[in-house]
């Protein structure tokens, strides 16, 4: 546990010192632009539009950040050979990977928290205040971010090229939004090959339908059970990706 927390702490510090403020600054610009645009709208429309715009921006910025950070997370340490000194201490490779992953997700989560604070502040000015539902939506974005982080980490270790890992991560991220459509097409397909391929892709790619809390935003909010399953899915998918990453990482020589 001490080794995981030590790796977690230095990874977190490294990200915070390097990049975290960039995402918050970018988000600030998005919010400023959004506020200027919505100021021309009617009072009831303003808060709704700012809410949607802000949450979409937080999600997009968090996902881009986590993919960028995780695809280079291990490869940069291999390139700089800093990994030599870490792995020549009594550190299990699985502990190292877990610490690096958790440190990165935590750094992105801090960025999310800063963005959310700015967003909520602005929404309050426009008269919107539903903190519990807002937190639930944010937790879903965090779940999605963790899943994409774990997937990007796995891809970076499997492909050993940042560009290829990033391209695949974006591809799987897109597929993840069409899981139910892929399963529907597989059911309708007459070709056994196509059916198998579609089913395989729909299971391999993350199913982001589990995290679409914002789809319910203007209807009745999903209950605690829905949120619990989103959490279970995020944990299970991330754990599976990390377990495969450990398998690949164990075979690596430096």
């Amino acid at each position: 546990m001490q080794t995981i927390s030590a790796v977690f702490a230095y990874t977190f510090k490294e990200h915070i010192r390097h990049k975290a403020w960039l995402s918050a600054a970018l988000f600030g610009l998005v919010l400023l632009g959004g506020a200027i645009i919505v100021s021309a709208l009617g009072a009831d429309e303003r808060a709704r539009l700012l809410l949607d715009l802000g949450l979409a921006a937080i999600e997009a910025i968090s996902l881009v950040s986590v993919v960028f950070l995780t695809v280079s997370l291990i490869l940069v340490e291999i390139e700089s050979r800093a990994i030599y000194l870490i792995l020549t201490h009594p550190v299990r490779r699985s502990d190292y990977l877990l610490g690096r992953f958790l440190g990165t997700v935590a750094a992105v989560a801090v960025g999310m928290a800063v963005m959310a604070a700015m967003h909520l502040g602005l929404l309050t000015l426009y008269g919107w205040w539903e903190p519990l539902r807002y937190l639930a939506a944010l937790a879903c974005v965090l779940g999605k971010t963790a899943v994409m982080g774990a997937l990007s980490l796995l891809l970076s270790l499997a492909l050993t090229s940042e560009a290829a890992a990033m391209a695949f991560a974006v591809f799987l991220w897109m597929l993840g939004h069409f899981s139910s459509e892929m399963r529907f097409l597989a059911d309708r397909s007459g070709s056994a090959f196509l059916k198998t391929a579609l089913v395989a892709f729909s299971h391999a790619a993350p199913d982001f339908a589990h995290f679409n809390y914002r789809d319910f935003w203007h209807q009745a909010a999903p209950g605690a059970e829905w949120l619990m399953w989103a959490g279970v899915y995020a944990l299970a998918y991330s754990a599976a990706c990390l377990a495969l990453s450990v398998q690949l990482f164990d075979q690596k020589e430096f």
Binding site: L87, T88, H89, P90, V91, E253, F254
Partner: protein, 254 residues
Amino acid sequence: MNAIRFQNVSKIYRRSHLGRVTETTGLSGLDLDIQKGEVFGLLGLNGSGKTTAIKLLMGLHHPTKGEVETLGRRASDVEVLARIGYAPEAAYLNKTLTGRENLRLFAALSRIPRAEIEGRVAEMLDKVGLGKAMDQRLSEYSKGMLQRASLAQALIHDPELVILDEPVTGLDPLAIKEVRVLILWLKSKGKTVLFSSHDISEVERVCDRIGILSGGRLVKVMKQDEWRGKPDALETAFAAAVVRTDGVGSIRME
């Protein structure tokens, strides 16, 4: 008792490019025992297998054939690394951290109890002459300071076995002398020291025994009494034992 044992160890690097596999021999049939409390020097040209042997000891590489043992355990056993200190040929440290944070990280990774970490870190930084620079980021350190920080991480946990890969390469004469004093101090404390070098004069001043590697093979092992008081004995033996394998001819000014 043996601190290090290589039993018929071979390491073959396989690289595949566009379906074509090439093999390079890093080490071939290495048999070597190093006793506890001994200072042993590995001498050899570039590409002779010195770093490969050290990486096998540190678990960064896996042997293709044979067994590598350190302090009575298999080298791949992560637990044994808590009793070994390792400094690579360059200071591969995370430059976003300060000297203190860096050493705190390695102290935690080496499983030093939390309550002792701060005291040990400050003491070690003072010992290597970085007491006044401990709160500067490593990116601001000179090469000599980084080398000291690297030595500090190797010694922070008071290891039984210290492995130094080319510790004097690229250092100024004063720093070389300090490394020599350090090795002799470690010997006086009963530690086992293995280090690799190109520098024959340094090796003959501090080693109890040396091994000469050439083309991945251990071609000669000598004891101190074979060179002590005999000027040029080690250099002559070295020149006679090694064969260039890098395809470079000797310099001839005729």
